[in-house]
Symmetry: C2
């Protein structure tokens, strides 16, 4: 029998259907990047996507795009869902996330039942070149220890995951950046809950920006303009292996490309965001 | 003085404002992939984007996403534009493209004035490894010659561009595929018109699918579910260098990643589409 108790992710992205495509959710403060500040964009995307798929026979977002208009604050949000087209294999849905009379996020996504996908498979893309899991640092515990030692507080969203990162990926926080725009490692939910395709929407945006590893003093915070996540497969149990890169910054605009692979060695996510170097 | 005569691309994507966010355009048959068939998705995207930006102070799509619901046919289309948010640096706009009482494409985009973008620039991404332009084949002329010789007709959209392609990229049409999912080369408009940021939306979808170069008999036509194009810069005069790749096919779902660089060596486009192997 499935565990009837919702896990932390399910609880914090729960939505209540109010009828005629209207939903109510609550932005939980536990998904902020900085204590008390705006929630992570991937979390907002997942919260909205749970409403978007509520009335569909298709539970998996195969491609969903969010344009971030203004960050919501912790507390209630309203989500307005419009079914654009519903077919046998796919449903396309648009959504608006509102708070305090102001639209915060606009979304557009296509959903499918990935459990029923049955076309050809071929993987020419090389997998990730990460060290073995046991050679990685427990980045979640490390961050908590550093916070106790008086460093900056551990980001709330970090605590939602069990992060295992190659040591070289973490040097940026101690003044030893990689010198290239890369971030990543292994992760799973901190509470051991299974990862589903809505959770992958958070995974696609849960790391510090790869630009932090560039060692370029011009680059600080990089607010997301748009995030698109493509999901291929429901992940197998176990840690996901992830990689996020930024390779081109053009007059302040940059991409953040992400990929995640499951414990079966299958590609489960391709993501890309457009972000802008904050002035 | 600027040439007041619209070029072919401008003419075929012209829209008439009918008021209150409503526009009328015409799908021209000259942008089909197969004579008499549905228009190219990038062309439909550009047509809609011209309406989307009509009322904005921001002429350049920095990121625009289209979900393709059903292909339109040549002839009149209606475009309904909703201004989601207008700020100093960016405007976000949603749009619906209708024909015959049926929605064909849903879009969401953010626009900027790329001429005024002034943040940092840093390019770590390697450029394309194409042979020099003069060593490439005039793929447009070659296709027309082949059509005269009784091969399949030249695709109308091919004639809109002056395509110069590495010889190895063209073998797939004669039974000698590359063996990997790649397509690309140099291109400019066939009529010599300058390439603008709306034209780049067509460039992002104008090649045969990279899967044609895989040499995998399971892979035929791959209809696009969603296409997102990120634009960084107004291109310099001259040929664009392009590369499109497909590296992972998962139960029929695949990505098509594109990039285009201008004659100044700057990255101008990053694109990604989600497509599905046709049954």
């Amino acid at each position: 029998m499935a565990d009837p108790t919702p896990n932390r992710f399910e609880r914090d992205t729960a939505v209540e259907a109010l009828g005629t495509g209207r939903y109510r959710g609550t932005v939980d403060p536990g998904w902020a990047v900085i204590e008390g500040a705006a929630p992570n964009g991937g979390y907002v995307l997942a919260l909205a996507a749970r409403a978007m798929r509520d009335a569909l026979p298709h539970p998996d977002p195969v491609t969903v795009t969010a344009h971030f208009l203004a960050p919501p604050e912790p507390g209630p949000v309203d989500i307005e869902v419009e079914l654009v087209r519903s077919g046998r294999r796919h449903s396309t849905v648009a959504a608006k996330l509102w708070q305090g009379g102001r639209e915060r996020t606009r979304l557009l996504g296509t959903f499918a039942d990935l459990g029923a996908a049955d076309g050809p498979t071929r993987l020419d893309r090389p997998g990730l070149d990460l060290p073995p899991l046991d050679d990685c640092v427990d980045a979640t515990s490390r961050s908590v220890e550093r916070a106790k030692d008086g460093a900056y507080p551990a980001p709330p969203i970090l605590m939602r995951f069990d992060h295992r990162m190659p040591a070289e990926m973490m040097g940026w926080a101690e003044g030893r950046p990689l010198g290239r725009g890369e971030m990543g490692g292994y992760l799973r939910w901190a509470d051991g809950a299974p990862m589903d395709t809505l959770g992958l929407l958070v995974v696609a945006d849960c790391y510090p920006p790869p630009v932090f590893n560039m060692g370029d003093s011009r680059l600080g915070w990089v607010p997301t303009i748009e995030l698109t996540v493509q999901i291929r497969k429901r992940p197998a149990d176990g840690y996901l292996a992830t990689r996020f890169t930024t390779e081109a910054i053009t007059n302040g605009y940059l991409e953040e490309d992400g990929e995640a692979w499951d414990a079966d060695g299958d590609l489960v996510v391709l993501s890309r965001q457009l972000a802008l170097v904050a002035r």
